[in-house]
Symmetry: C2
Subunit: 109 residues, 2 copies
């Protein structure tokens, strides 16, 4: 059945499922739960975090540029922030370094 | 306007926009374009890759477990595969290590 012919309820379900698949793929491949928590604000929490409260918060500017907002968890990551955000200017490198740091703690323990 | 009251066309647009926001957030925060390329198959390509053809391909099993499929690009990543997939058994750690490797090449150059 083509989307255009679907009833609104059915269409809504189909899209919800697609968004869920996307969210699950994100979690499985990148290791983070990705959530929209406000207008242009996203939170991510790592599958390797000690606590689900250990979130990183980002705001996307009108031009599409993301920046890290302070959270209790981000304030424990000074070294990675200096290296990857301030020197390397790369949010993906920073987020990746957080994953490697948290995952290595778990696999060493 | 509540979603249930929307016309199908309008609803479709609203969901498409939501999926696009999600996709953009993925790209900005994790550094990868995430694409569904078949039933339970996802491809990711890094913003730091030399070529858009440098993709990693994953298949999600029925139980939700992802595994890496071979691509020309993955076959160049033997060391990271050994360390993070075979020893650490972590796809997010592997994907993160690829980001850090590619990003560091770009920032050194």
């Amino acid at each position: 059945m083509k989307q255009a012919q679907m009833l609104p309820e059915r269409l809504k379900e189909a899209f919800k499922e697609r968004i869920k698949d996307f969210r699950d793929a994100c979690y499985n491949l990148f290791g983070y739960k990705l959530k929209l928590v406000g207008q242009r604000r996203w939170s991510i929490s790592s599958m390797y975090a000690d606590s689900p409260d250990d979130v990183l918060l980002f705001e996307i500017s009108h031009s599409g540029e993301p920046s890290l907002l302070e959270t209790p968890f981000s304030s424990t990551l000074g070294d990675l922030i200096s290296l990857h955000l301030m020197r390397q200017n790369s949010i993906p490198a920073f987020v990746s370094a957080v994953t490697l740091e948290l995952a290595s703690r778990q696999t060493i323990a």
